[in-house]
Each structure stands twice: as C-alpha cells, then as structure tokens.
C-alpha cells in the first residue's frame, strides 16, 4: 500500500512541478486572478451590492472553471500520447490507476493554489464588513470540489485525443452540458416529453444547482457525494480510455 501511494505521489510531484517548469503556471494564475476579480467587481457589482459576502465572487466560478479547468487539464494525457512518453509511463511498474490519479491530483492541487491566491478578496470583505466566514469557507471548499469534477472530466477527455486543442474543446462542451443541466431552458424542453424522474435526474446532475446550494451555505452529503462520484466516475473512464487508446 505504501509503495502504491508512493508511486502515485511521485507522479503527482512530477506533474505539479511540471506546471511551474513552463510559464503555464504563472500565466494561468494571472488569468485566473484577473478574471475572477474582474467578474466579481465589474459583472458581479461587488461594491454596488453593498453586502458583506462573496456571492459576487463565487457565482462566476462555474463559468470561469468551464474554460480554465480544460486549460489546466487538456495536456494531462493528450501530451503524453503526442510526445510518445505514454510508452515510458505504461512500461514502468505502475498501474494505470496510479498514473491517472497522480496526474489528476496534481492538477487539483494546482487549482487549490489558484483558489488560495484569491484570499485577498476574502480579507477585503472582512475588512469592509462582517461576512459569514463559515459560508465563505464552505463556498471555497465547494468551489474546489467543483473544480475537481471539471478537471476529472477534462482528464478523461484528454485521454481521447493526442490534440490538446481538441481536448480543450470537448472538455468545455461537456462541462457546459453539465452546467446547463440545471437550467429551466433545458429542463422545460425535457419535461414536456419525459417522466418526472428523468427531469429530476437531469436536474440533479447540474453542477450549477449543486454549487448554488453550497453558496447559500447548504453543504449536505448529497452534494459531496455528487461531486466525488463525478470525479471517481470520470477517473474510472479515464483509466479505461488510457488502456484502450494508448497505442492509437
């Protein structure tokens, strides 16, 4: 078991350092901070709302992650296949699950770093008023959990192709579908012809509806199970895809 975790950690370590070996990390972190602040202050009207909370900050995260998580994760497998290093990895004494989990965790930890760097907004809102820090902490955790689901989805899509751009596009599209699942536009279209349980199932698949509840400070087991299940399911498919597509 120790050896198993150790190898996963070695993969994680290489991947995480890999983000910082190129300008990718700094560019991403800058873009993330600029966009999240820009959306909070300009689109979210942080000051005009005159409320000591971070709703204006968190409510944009699903849309931000829709683009930025595929940007982080698109290279995870596509690049290994394009450069041929997948042959090195697979012929090492390590399982595909260790490889997939190690790579995913690296990208998830990188996202955690990005979220931690937004802490000045939290400090600002505490300076300006008296927010409910409990809700903010839960929202941060929920945001990171949702980012994990987006990343697992991206990692899975990245194993489908050697081309990072294609990986980015299909990850964004599938992420968009999972966000939109909670919108009335989609639900009313489905409701007209399907039984109630299908509509409810589709609605319950929505990242947006789960994340909205988290933002209100409602963090129940079903939300945790939902995001963790999405992550596990995507990573499981990812492992199968690596096995099937490795030699294409």
């Amino acid at each position: 078991m120790n050896n198993y975790l150790n190898k996963t950690y070695i993969i994680l370590d290489r991947e995480l350092k890999g983000y910082f070996r190129t300008p990718l990390a700094s560019i991403f972190l800058l873009v993330f901070l600029a966009l999240s602040s820009g959306m909070t202050f300009f689109l979210g009207r942080f000051f005009e709302r005159d409320q000591a909370d971070l709703t204006a900050f968190f409510s944009w995260h699903p849309w931000l992650f829709l683009v930025l998580m595929p940007a982080i994760g698109m290279r995870l497998w596509a690049e290994e296949r394009r450069s041929g290093t997948i042959e090195l990895l697979i012929t090492l004494p390590v399982t595909n699950t260790q490889l997939v989990v190690g790579k995913f965790l690296a990208s998830w930890i990188f996202t955690l770093i990005a979220l931690i760097l937004t802490m000045p907004i939290w400090i600002t809102v505490n300076y300006l008023g008296e927010p409910d820090n409990h809700i903010i902490l839960i929202s941060y955790f929920g945001s990171w959990l949702m980012a994990g689901a987006f990343l697992a989805l991206t990692s899975c899509m990245s194993a489908l192709t050697k081309n990072q751009v294609i990986a980015f596009i299909i990850s964004s599209i599938s992420g968009f579908v999972l966000i939109m699942a909670g919108f009335n536009l989609v639900l009313s279209a489905v409701r007209s012809w399907s039984p109630n349980w299908i509509t409810e199932t589709i609605s319950s698949m929505s990242f947006l509806s789960h994340f909205s509840r988290i933002q209100m400070g409602v963090f129940d087991l079903s939300t945790l199970v939902f995001f963790i299940s999405i992550i596990i399911l995507c990573l499981w498919i990812n492992v199968q895809l690596v096995q099937v597509k490795k030699a294409d």
């Binding site: 890999g18 041929g84 042959e87 090195l88 012929t91 090492l92 004494p93 390590v94 490795k246």
Partner: protein, 318 residues
C-alpha cells in the same frame, strides 16, 4: 525454471483486420544481444511493445524472467529497461530530474538512486548536459538520455527500439560500444534496419517481415545458410600466373571466371554463369587436372544485407 530472461511464444497481434505480428516465438538468454531486423512496418516495434507490456498480445504468452507478463505485469516490468522508438522524454525537464523521476518510479531508494545517477552520468557521458533541459539537447544526447532512463535500475533485460536511428556515425559507434559494454550480463533486444549494426553488436539476428519470423540465427550461421548459388568461391594456395589463369578460364566452361590475388600465396577463383548455376564437383574436377591445391570451395557467401533483402523480398512475393 527456464534460464531464458525473455520467453515469448506464439505472439499474435491484430489491428482491426490487419495482422501486425503473426505467431512469433522469441527467447533471449542472459549475455545475448538479439538484433531485430525487418523492413518498416514489419512488426518489430509492435513485438517490442508487447515484450515490454505496453501492448497486450491477442494470442500467445510472454514470460519475463519466468514471470508471466499478463498475470503479474508490475513484477515482470521491474526487470525490463525500455527505450521506445524515437527516445521520448519529458522535454521540459532537466536531465538529472528526468532520470531521477524514472529511477524513483523504478523503486530505487535515495541511496541507490544517487549512486545510479552518478554511474549513468559517467557511463553514458551525460555529465556536461546534466542540468540542461532535455529540449535543448542534440539528438545524440537525447538518445543517450533515453538509454540512461532504460538503464537507471540496472535491469536484466534491455529492449531498445532503434537506438541508433538518426545518430551520426560517431554517435552510432559510441552507442554500439556502449551496448557491447553492458551486454555481458543482460539479455538485450535491439531493433534496427542497419545491418552493419547487427554484425557489430548482435550475437543473434532475428528477421521479421509482414509480422512473420523468417530467420532466427547467429549472423555467421545465416551467412552459411544463405549462399549465393550463382557464384562459386574457390581459394587455392598456388601462385597463378597469366598462363595458368588463361588455362583455368578455358577449362571452366562458364561465362564469368574471375581470378584474384588474395595474398602472397593464395588466389581466389570466382565462377558464375548467367545461364546456369555452376556445379561445384565439376569445377573441382577440372581444377584438379591442373594440380591446384584447393583450400576452400563453396558457393559464395552473401552479406547480411543481401540475406535480409533475399529473405524479406521472397516473403513479400509469396
């Protein structure tokens, strides 16, 4: 228990309807260097990918040091060092970090890792590039890094897919010397289409074409097996002056008789004919009349390259 480090039987691999590897048997013992020869697309790389556990064979079994690769892949892979075609590596990493990463993944502890890294730096001449990003290295150095990652855990088995491809003649020479140096206590399989490489480093040549194994023998045995039936090669320990040479030519009723001085005391006679293959017994009888001392008489040997062309083109025409 078999002393064979690699023992593969009845290997088959299909890609859709196309059969890439067709019933190949291959075994390699410690101390052997097997040269894997074949035209492009013959199935060399596919076979190597199966031996390393990258691809699963559709049929057949592979034992690595008596461990079934299918049932215990992690254990079996520990014994293998593999250089994939094109020597892929993480180009953004520096040489030291890349080799360290592979070493750790191979299960080396801190102590043995630092020893092996030092050995690799010296043995493969990577010292001057040690802290350089791999993407900035020349092709020759990139290939060396690829060899170093395959050797980092001092494996019993080394599988090298075209290790000298794209290298300049000096680099090729260096690479062959390296393979020879490390070959004594390992089982090595190298794929190549450079025939001189096989003659230079391999104790056995395996020729495959269209996924089929066509020959599996030492280069010397292959040369003895595949003789050129069009040309007789006769070596005599006589000094042949012009008069005797003319006599020989008139006595032997064949189109083309060439007489060459081999050294001070010996000459060779090459006999060929465009219409029919020369008959060895008839020629020897004729030469006997001239009281020549024949030291060696046989059909002319083909070079490995000619053997390769003959085998693979015969197979293609079938």
């Amino acid at each position: 228990m078999s002393d064979k480090l690699i023992n593969a039987t009845n290997l088959q691999k299909f890609f859709d309807q196309f059969i890439a590897v067709d019933n190949i048997d291959l075994s390699v013992s410690r101390g052997e260097v097997v040269g894997f020869l074949g035209p492009n697309g013959a199935g060399k790389s596919t076979t190597m990918k199966m031996l390393t556990g990258f691809l699963e064979p559709d049929n057949g079994e592979i034992f690595i040091n008596n461990i079934n690769l299918k049932s215990d892949p992690l254990k079996a892979k520990e014994y293998i060092g593999y250089l994939p075609e094109g020597a892929p590596s993480y180009s953004d990493m520096i040489v030291a970090d890349f080799l360290s990463f592979i070493g750790k993944m191979r299960g080396l502890n801190d102590n043995s890792l630092s020893n092996r890294l030092e050995e690799m730096a010296n043995q493969i001449n990577l010292k001057e590039m040690w802290n350089r990003p791999i993407e900035t290295l020349s092709k020759g150095f990139k290939r060396r890094v690829g060899i170093a990652q395959a050797l980092i855990h001092d494996p019993d088995i080394l599988i090298l897919d075209e290790p000298t491809d794209g290298l300049d003649p000096n680099q090729k020479h260096e690479m062959r010397n390296l393979i020879k140096r490390i070959s004594t206590n390992k089982a090595i399989v190298i794929s190549t289409h450079i025939l001189e490489e096989v003659e230079a480093v391999c104790s056995r040549a395996v020729i495959i074409s269209n996924g089929k194994l066509l020959a599996n023998d030492t280069p010397k045995n292959l040369e003895n097996k595949f003789l050129n039936k069009n040309t007789l090669f006769i070596k005599v320990s006589n000094k042949l002056n012009n008069v005797i040479s003319k006599e020989i030519k008139s006595l032997l009723k064949y189109d083309d008789v060439k007489i060459q001085k081999t050294d001070i005391s010996t000459h060779t006679i090459l006999v060929s004919d465009s219409q029919k293959n020369p008959n060895l017994n008839t020629v020897l009888k004729q030469l006997n009349k001239l009281k020549l001392d024949v030291i060696e008489a046989n059909f002319q040997k083909l070079s490995l390259e000619e053997i390769f062309r003959k085998i693979t083109s015969d197979n293609n025409s079938k």
